[in-house]
């Protein structure tokens, strides 16, 4: 019998485990995922960019050169300044200012923060709904299963952006969001959550149907655990792996959806601007030659989405044993 590299690796692993359990860091550095991560410089670059963008959004208050929301510090004299490398540019406003004298770089930092929060909460909601319905459908089967999956099929016929737009429009009509910014924010999160749950539900349902018949589930049932406990404590950890991949790719989609809704004017208002709102507002100045007001937020959005997409692609390939 030949010794394959896999055997050799598992042998070293087991000896190491005998010698004493390795640290968490050691286990991460030894994993296949870390290996495939270090193999691709594009992935590492994407991870670096994502990290930098997320950190600068988190610490927007600390690193932003100006406060775009403090009306006292704004001056119309600073309005429409080009970026620093132009003749009229100033270092005070590295990426220029809009007509009201707001610093474009600071607006982008705060806008990205809002975009990321909406995207993250939207994905979280979509995943929660999708995972729960998928678990229930896969575990119970029968009528419950077919009802949930029928709804999913119907929803899948339509693009998510259209569904988000409809839910957004309907909820705006229902709750009258004209006055409340907080409400607009949550309306947006819910519309994104409700338009992206289907993919999670289908994936989780499939793996739950496999897990349902395994012995550990039967054992759990035998000792008298309730369905809810079995599903969330025992089945869930075993089906959650692929969900991570979907969630990463969906994060990019959710950010795009939020930006699109805000760009269309049915998302976040100018008083609480996300990247999409900034692009919509800046778009009006494109023809007067102030390209930096719209191009920089647009570039930021594009880079953010591209980096997350690259990470998602890599994660999908790394976790998919078929491609190894």
């Amino acid at each position: 019998m030949q010794i394959t590299p896999e055997d050799a690796r598992s042998a070293t692993l087991s000896t190491r485990q005998v010698q004493g359990s390795p640290s968490v860091m050691g286990r991460v550095l030894d994993s296949d995922i870390w290996y495939s991560f270090t193999r691709s410089w594009i992935t590492m670059l994407a991870a670096l960019i994502t990290l930098v963008l997320i950190l600068s959004a988190v610490f927007a208050h600390q690193i932003a050169p100006n406060d775009p929301f403090n009306l006292e510090s704004l001056s119309l004299l600073d309005g429409s300044k080009p970026p620093f490398w132009s003749a009229d540019g100033e270092w005070r406003f590295p990426l220029g200012t809009d007509q009201q004298g707001r610093c474009v770089l600071s607006s982008i930092l705060f806008g990205m923060r809002i975009s990321l929060i909406v995207g993250f909460l939207g994905v979280l909601l979509a995943a929660s709904i999708g995972i729960t319905l998928g678990l229930v459908a896969g575990y119970l089967g029968g009528t419950v299963d077919s009802v949930i999956m029928r709804v999913a099929d119907v929803q899948l016929t339509f693009p998510a952006i259209l569904i988000a737009l409809l839910i957004d429009g309907t909820m705006r009509a229902l709750v009258g969001t004209a006055r409340s910014e907080v409400l607009v924010f949550w309306v947006l999160v819910v519309s994104i959550g409700l338009s992206f749950w289907v993919q999670y539900a289908r994936t989780v349902r499939g793996s739950t149907m496999v897990e349902r018949n395994k012995e550990y589930v039967q054992a759990a049932r035998l000792i008298g655990l309730g369905n809810v406990t079995i599903l969330f404590r025992h089945v869930l950890p075993n089906v959650v792996g692929p969900v991570l991949v979907i969630a990463t790719i969906n994060m990019a989609l959710a950010i795009i959806t939020e930006a699109t809704l805000s760009f269309l004017g049915v998302g976040l208002p100018p008083t609480e601007p996300s990247l999409g709102t900034l692009i919509r507002l800046g778009n009006e100045f494109l023809f007067s030659g102030e390209w930096w007001v719209v191009i920089f937020p647009g570039l930021t959005l594009a880079i953010l989405v591209l980096a997350i997409n690259l990470l998602g692609d890599w994660l999908r390939d790394a976790l998919n044993p078929k491609l190894r």
Binding site: T157, P159, I161, L162, L166, G169, F263, L286, L301, A302
Partner: protein, 325 residues
């Protein structure tokens, strides 16, 4: 075969009824239509009388039946904002959206397939790698950003093409077209490219991976062994077989082109149904919202149905499983 078709049509009707129910509930639960018609001095009795005249007293199921019956005759009532029949409004806007969708689908096909074939035949070449990179960027960029960038480059910087509106239209009585004048074509280019770019990258990537897969199969090796010219192998044998999934995806994408037209129409102020729907969402004009929803759903369902049936015609394997089920 017949059973398969009947089952698919049954499913399509079910989907349409579900969407009709959603758009009916928009009417029923979002806002009270009588509020739009009464003034402050209207007494309670008069309000009840109006409700009765409008049939709002009837059981919900009766109202739903009436709604479906009217919808089947394209009667969606009056727009809350403009007080015009919704059917007329949509009829005016329909050609603009359809021509835009058609032009961008053509662009996606005629640019995407050759690029995909080339990238599939020579995956290692520099140009093919460039296509791959560009397509990744194309997938990551939101539609509205592509539109803004195109306007920035072609309208603002170089002043080559108009940046908004639908110019040079010719009225044919029942249809206004921009295909007949140069001005019309010029105003169509940027919106059509914006709308079709995502579909183009999708088709390109699909054709590329299908080509690479087919080229590995035995019958291609055999065709080469028979001494056929590369052109005959690549185009006569390989490309033909990659086109089946391309037809499906293109058909299905036609639906999302119509949906994404909302965004493109907003960027370019293109006077189509999407722009009207967006304005309706902003002003909570429910008759327009629900009519648009039903219309788009019907288009989607129709396209899906045609694609499914075409598939059965093209691919005999499905016919067999359809009979067995």
């Amino acid at each position: 075969m017949l059973a398969f078709i009947l089952r698919r049509i049954g499913q399509a009707i079910l989907v349409l009824l579900t969407v009709a129910l959603i758009s009916f509930s928009l009417f029923r639960f979002v806002g009270d239509p009588t509020q739009q018609m009464v003034s402050q001095d209207t007494t309670l009795e008069e309000r009840l009388q109006i409700r009765k005249n409008l049939g709002l007293d009837d059981p919900v199921i009766v109202q739903f039946g009436r709604f479906v019956g009217k919808a089947a005759r394209f009667d969606f009532g009056l727009s809350y904002q403009t007080r015009q029949p919704v059917a007329t409004l949509i009829g005016d806007r329909f050609p603009a959206t359809m021509e835009l969708a058609f032009a961008s689908a053509l662009f996606a096909l005629f640019a995407g397939i050759p690029m995909g074939v080339y990238a599939g035949l020579k995956p290692q070449s520099l140009l093919a790698r460039l296509f791959q990179t560009v397509s990744l960027i194309g997938i990551s960029l939101p539609t509205f950003l592509i539109g803004i960038l195109l306007i920035f480059v072609f309208s603002v910087s170089f002043g080559l093409l108009p940046s908004f509106g639908r110019q040079g239209t010719v009225n044919l009585g029942f249809w206004t077209t921009s295909f007949l004048t140069l001005e019309g074509w010029r105003s169509l280019i940027l919106p059509a490219v914006t709308l079709g770019l995502f579909q183009m990258t999708l088709i390109m990537r699909l054709v590329r991976s299908e080509m690479m897969e087919v080229l590995r199969t035995d019958y291609i090796k055999f065709a080469k062994a028979r001494g056929l010219k590369p052109r005959a192998v690549n185009y006569g044998h390989a490309l033909k077989n990659t086109l089946i999934p391309v037809i499906t995806i293109t058909g299905l994408q036609l639906g999302s082109i119509i949906a994404f037209a909302i965004i493109t129409e907003t960027v370019f102020q293109w006077p189509g149904m999407g722009l009207m729907f967006l304005q309706a969402v902003q002003t909570v004009d429910i008759p327009i919202m629900s009519a648009y929803l039903l219309l788009v759903a019907s288009l989607f369902v129709l396209i899906n149905l045609i694609v499914d049936l075409l598939y059965v015609v093209v691919d005999p394997r499905i016919r067999i499983s359809g009979r067995a089920a």
